[in-house]
């Protein structure tokens, strides 16, 4: 295998709170190959978004990088100087965010916000940059881009705004696109379009995607490989198809079973949904041992004391569970 585009190795993110430092994320490792779509799935507060921010070098107080390595194309960037990171951001790694309304500057025309990318990274002058911004808008299939570049974010619908965000992110043809819940704020029908757009554009440009979502179905549909995070750790990582077919971690299993799936009732009649007991723990109250242990139906004593090691699964997959393998 060639070197992966991005390798995250043993990442730890520290959260300082009231003078105590918590590990919001620990032991997180994954690799993304060139042009590959990789999904990171988890519930709110599991640390998936801050992992993405860590990759971007955008962690801010009270969060900080606690340890581990982030290797982009063979180059370690976790300790890169700020200026170096700035050159990378936007040019080689780009990001789109959950809320397209707040992620765009409300006082600046969208065309200008796209054009900034060309000015920043390619030394274009503003006129030239605006022309290219128009082209970028066309690429993300915004109708009549020549007019839209002068529009302000509030004049666009949610889906259009997210398209603008995509245009910004992909403006300089980055190697990696980090998409943090890009469709959560959108309607179902629009969400499908945006996902398709991202997949299509990235495939065309050979851009790798780090897709972050709470929706396992969505991620599995788009990504080749998926990692599931729970309470700051990756609990399972598999090829997308496999994770639905053979979920190995009780949490993954629970997630898949707990939601009514379209067509399920027609096939099998109404079944009582499988519940995952309890609640997601807060960072300050992570349980010892396997963090899923208070909610796990298969919990045993070892789960409460020992952190499970990773067990390999086929096709570079892994799972962290004492009861596997």
């Amino acid at each position: 295998m060639t070197t992966p585009l991005l390798r995250v190795d043993n990442l730890r993110i520290a959260l300082a709170s009231d003078g105590i430092t918590y590990n919001a994320v620990e032991n997180v490792s994954f690799e993304i190959g060139r042009g590959e779509a990789f999904g990171l799935v988890g519930e709110s507060g599991c640390g998936k978004s801050i992992t993405a921010l860590a990759v971007m070098g955008l962690l801010r107080r009270p969060l900080s990088l606690g340890g581990g390595r982030i290797v982009l194309d063979g180059q370690e960037i976790q300790d890169a100087p700020a200026a170096e990171m700035r050159r990378l951001r936007g040019k080689r790694i780009a990001m789109i965010f959950q809320e397209p309304m707040t992620a765009l500057n409300p006082l600046s025309p969208v065309g200008k916000q796209i054009a900034e990318m060309f000015v920043l990274h390619q030394g274009a002058n503003w006129n030239e940059a605006m022309d290219r911004a128009e082209e970028a808008l066309r690429q993300v299939r915004v109708p009549s881009p020549e007019r839209r570049i002068r529009d302000y974010p509030h004049q666009l619908s949610g889906g259009m705004r997210q398209r603008v965000m995509i245009a910004i992110a992909l403006a300089c043809g980055p190697d990696l696109l980090v998409a943090d819940e890009p469709t959560t704020a959108l309607d179902v029908t629009v969400q499908a379009e945006i996902i398709d757009l991202i997949a299509e554009l990235c495939a065309a440009k050979g851009t790798a995607v780090l897709m972050i979502s709470h929706d396992l179905g969505l991620v599995a549909n788009m990504c080749k490989r998926v990692a599931v995070m729970y309470a700051g750790r990756i609990v399972e990582s598999q090829v997308a198809d496999a994770i639905f077919a053979t979920p190995s971690h009780p949490y993954t299993q629970g997630l898949i079973d707990s939601l009514p799936r379209l067509g399920e009732r027609a096939r099998r009649g109404r079944q009582r949904l499988t519940e995952i007991a309890g609640v997601v723990p807060s960072i300050q109250a992570y349980p010892a041992g396997c963090r899923f242990n208070p909610r796990c139906p298969a919990v045993t004593d070892i789960c409460r004391t020992n952190v499970p090691e990773a067990t390999s699964l086929p096709a570079d997959g892994l799972v962290r569970c004492h009861h596997h393998g």
């Binding site: 971007m56 955008l58 200026a83 990171m85 700035r86 050159r87 990378l88 951001r89 936007g90 040019k91 780009a94 990001m95 965010f97 809320e99 707040t102 992620a103 765009l104 500057n105 409300p106 006082l107 600046s108 025309p109 900034e116 990318m117 920043l120 990274h121 302000y152 509030h154 004049q155 965000m165 910004i168």
Partner: protein
């Protein structure tokens, strides 16, 4: 912009009318009359027969409603009545006072904006830092100062002890006479602006779109220049407008202390002498100024914030 202006005017007129009515009613129940006010210094002679006659001549004995109706009709044609005291048209008296008042208010606001916004801005860039702490302690102290006390202190320090600046008066209308009263008047808004600016900049710095800007690979300096300033300005401008507008009213104390010939000191003087047409004219002037500034702020919003147009 015309729409904003139109909407604004539609709001301004009823407000003005209400102000006129309120002021008129308030001051018509004021005890003491101008005529007894002529002895305000306790040194001037009065003649009861003349007083009776003056009451009549000034229409003070007419029914309230009649006087009010007359007043409103006159205002509509730009006549604010005749001062009891000087027997000159109020408009003429005001016209001599507006420029000094404006000068003072503008100087105070310039001071407040220059110092306040700069301090607040620098403080926000390093929250928790030494400058931040110092600026915020200074700001909150500035808000806790009694204006006339502070003015007196300035006088003593800069005029009497250091002899840098004249202590009072309008002088030739130049900058030297303006500095002390402007600072005394501007310290409150300055403190408020420092705090508001700091909060606004911090707010914007934490906004999602700033994160977006950073994710684009911008330097912090660019982030601030391209994305933070303008957005913070929107938040700051409200305070600037409100403060600017009410400064003319607050100037009363400072104008009196520094013997500054503005609308405020004319008003206080006229209140104490019960020169009602002048008082009403002054208040109307102050309110008009407030509303005008607010309209300007609204227009500034439209210029700065594209969202407003479509609201």
């Amino acid at each position: 912009m015309l729409i904003v202006l139109g909407r604004r005017l539609a709001n301004v007129i009823p407000t003005l009318l209400a102000v006129v009515a309120l002021v008129f009613l308030l001051f018509s129940v004021l005890p003491g009359s101008f005529i007894s006010g002529m002895n305000e210094d306790g040194r001037s002679a009065m003649d009861p027969a003349v007083m009776e006659r003056m009451r009549k001549e000034m229409g003070l004995d007419d029914p309230l409603l009649e006087r009010f109706a007359k007043y409103v009709v006159n205002i509509a044609v730009g006549d604010l009545g005749t001062s009891f005291r000087t027997r000159e048209p109020v408009t003429k008296m005001l016209s001599g006072r507006i420029w000094p008042s404006l000068k003072l208010v503008m100087a105070a606001m310039t001071f407040a904006i220059l110092v306040g916004v700069t301090l607040g801005f620098l403080a926000a860039l390093k929250p928790g830092g030494l400058l931040d702490t110092a600026a915020m302690v200074g700001a909150i102290s500035g808000l806790s100062l009694s204006q006339f006390w502070f003015g007196l202190m300035l006088m003593y320090l800069f005029a009497l002890k250091l002899q840098w600046l004249p202590s009072f008066g309008y002088g030739d209308g130049g900058l030297r006479n303006l500095i002390l009263p402007a600072i005394a008047l501007g310290v409150g808004p300055m403190a408020l602006l420092a705090r508001t600016t700091r909060a606004a900049v911090l707010d914007v710095l934490n906004a999602d779109f700033v994160r977006t800007a950073r994710s684009k690979g911008m330097s912090e300096r660019r982030v601030v220049e391209w994305h933070v300033l303008r957005n913070a300005l929107v938040l700051v401008i409200t305070i600037v407008g409100l403060q600017f507008g009410s400064l003319m009213g607050q100037a009363v104390v400072v104008e009196k202390l520094f013997a500054w010939p503005g609308v405020g000191s004319l008003m206080v003087d006229s209140v104490f002498q019960r020169d009602m047409p002048t008082v009403q004219g002054c208040i109307l002037m102050i309110v008009l100024f407030f509303l005008a500034i607010n309209t300007l702020v609204d227009i500034a919003y439209v210029v700065i914030d594209p969202r407003i147009r479509y609201r």
